[in-house]
Amino acid sequence: MLTPKKFLQFLIVGLALGNLYTTLHRSGIPLGLDGVITRIEIRHEKHPGVDDVPLIWLGNRAVHLDPEAARELRPGEKIFKRPMESSLQTPRGPVRLHPSRDFKGMAVLMPLIVLLSVL
């Protein structure tokens, strides 16, 4: 039987997975990328230089990448990678993609939050 506590625990698991998925997605590793970078846009959040949002535009498609990955790319370059590969092909050679510090932090904290919710 679904109790209020169980319902909230399911939500917590879903939200924890959401954090893990989003931070891993921003490393670029799960993504398939194929196209010419038409623009690299840096949008600012609360703390410019700390929580900036780099958007890589491949035509009409905007890809939000970690700043570390975005720094390796240049407008006008043709890039290619298959989903789940950690190497991104550019005209200047391959760029290695890494899970960010944010993802590693989430990989520690999210299981702990889920554990706390069931104790």
Partner: protein, 149 residues
């Protein structure tokens, strides 16, 4: 005796009902905030969103917690879901600086769900309801201040 009755066995261990839930909420709010602060360093917005979501849910549940005649159940779930919906709205409007950030949304919603979970199954007294509202407001204010620090 508090309106919610008393729990515990033996005269020396009697506690007002709801005290355990309030203590659990305080401990979990503090422990998880510390976890965010230690693991994410300069990304203070992560902890800030968690604190704000947790605090807002405590404020929303303070009145039902104070006056409930039976333990909170689906009321706690409804409060958490209301806060999640409000979080979607605020993240998409007032606080959307660069993009709608799913990480901010998840952290805020995790705070709301953890607060609801702490209080589900408990009921308190007027005094505990006021205490809960106070801690909730403190967490909201602290969350904002920390996120923008």
């Amino acid at each position: 005796m508090a309106p919610g009755g008393e729990t515990g066995r033996g005269a020396g261990r009697v506690k007002p009902a709801g005290k355990r839930e309030v203590g659990r909420a305080a401990a979990i709010a503090a422990a998880v905030t510390l976890g965010y602060a230690l693991l994410f360093g300069r990304r203070t917005d992560y902890a800030g969103h968690y604190m704000a979501g947790f605090g807002a849910t405590l404020v929303l549940l303070a009145v039902p917690f104070a006056f409930a005649k039976k333990p909170l159940g689906w009321t706690a779930v409804a409060a958490a879901i209301a806060l999640i919906a409000f979080g979607i709205y605020t993240e998409a409007t007032w606080f959307q600086l660069a993009i709608f950030d799913p990480v901010d949304f998840c952290n805020q919603s995790l705070g709301a769900c953890m607060a609801g979970l702490c209080l589900a199954g408990g009921m308190g007294s007027e005094e505990l309801g006021i205490e809960l509202g106070f801690w909730g407001l403190l967490l909201i204010t602290g969350g904002f201040a920390y996120a923008y620090s």
